[in-house]
Symmetry: C2
Subunit: 228 residues, 2 copies
């Protein structure tokens, strides 16, 4: 059983079309989950008064774990992420094979060699509903706004990951930092680089040029055609 968790701020977006895009992105997720039989939950309240913006997702994921003991996996998907292949199925076998508890799009080479703050993308991740995950989220959150050392963590992140230009500690760099400091974490954290588990649109959109070339005629049942 999988629960997709997403959400956005409690108040209207200041961009005039912001909430319209959120509505359409939520429709996209609901459609995907209906097709695949997943539950979907949209959170629009802050569960911790000091965990806002990109830090808000961590208490939400934790709450979803507790509220859904029947769910083996919680799949966090940022509100502005869109599922581009409605036939996509989570390759759970791959993550179960060696007992990984967290799957996130990223590249070890960029973490350990390039030391880039974009060496993984934390806006989509799949996390197993287990004690390891709860503890890991706590460790992760401890680099965020709830930490007395929040400001220091921002400085540490910038000192290691030179391409990070903004001073605040953010969730993505915090996750990278944890993996960077303790490489053994990759025994439990699957850095998915074999396909775009989550891609930044600037990299994704150019791959769509004449994408239909790859399609063979479908069966007409809306499930798409055979591809090779």
């Amino acid at each position: 059983m999988i629960v997709m968790v997403t959400g956005s701020q409690p108040n209207p977006c200041q961009n005039p079309i912001g909430d319209h895009l959120l509505l359409r992105a939520f429709k996209n997720k609901v459609d995907y989950c209906r097709i695949h039989g997943y539950d979907v939950f949209y959170n629009n309240v802050l569960l911790h008064p000091r965990m806002k913006s990109y830090w808000a997702k961590l208490p939400v994921v934790k709450a979803a774990m507790l509220a859904h003991p029947e769910a083996e996996w919680i799949w966090w998907v940022d509100s502005d992420a869109v599922i581009t292949d409605m036939e996509y199925k989570l390759p759970l076998d791959r993550y179960n094979y060696k007992g990984h508890n967290l799957a996130v799009h990223g590249w070890p080479k960029l973490i350990y060699e390039e030391k880039s703050w974009t060496s993984l993308n934390a806006s989509v991740f799949l996390i197993r509903n287990c004690q390891w995950s709860m503890d890991f989220i706590d460790a992760w959150a401890n680099m965020g706004t709830i930490s007395p050392d929040y400001k220091k963590w921002g400085e540490i992140q910038r000192s290691v990951f030179k391409d990070k230009l903004f001073p605040e500690s953010n969730d993505q760099t915090a996750l990278i930092y944890l993996i960077y400091k303790d490489r053994r974490l990759t025994d439990k954290i699957y850095l998915e680089g074999e396909y775009y588990f989550k891609g930044y649109w600037v990299e994704i959109v150019p791959t769509y040029y004449n994408i239909t070339k790859k399609y063979r005629p479908g069966t007409g049942d809306g499930a798409g055609g055979d591809r090779s």
Copy 2:
């Protein structure tokens, strides 16, 4: 199997908080459907170029019927409608008892005696996925914007339902008109008046005053308490 169908216009709402409210109202419906195991579909395209505004729902409901042959019922819920009781269950036994194909909130007395255009509320209805419903939707739609007699239908509606002040034929008055002209339709159309299957907020909100008085302590499982 029940499919809840809802939706709104393809473009951003002009009211600055409009889309935010649509997002929250959709969350409300998705939450309700997750709890009860219903499928939910949000439509945001116009399926017929001449069926806009409140007429747009009819081709959407028809399309949902065809796309979901596994669904016995299609439950249309306007985008701005909110489910206020998350424990509410559709009283399907009631609608199945005498083989009704359409359930909508309304009062026969107001249709046949008062002749009011608010004698039923067409923004929420439950319709059985069957040939009768397909034919009925066609008859209903024929009073709308696709009809060559669209203008005439508006005049006819106003001549019968005196409290209707705007000139255009609308879906709700069209439905009332059909039932008004052929009382035998109530053999197939259940006018639900025993509870607020759908209520206008002006009538609903005052009933919420100290609603917790009616509650007994719950079990703490989030499913609410025993009420009497």
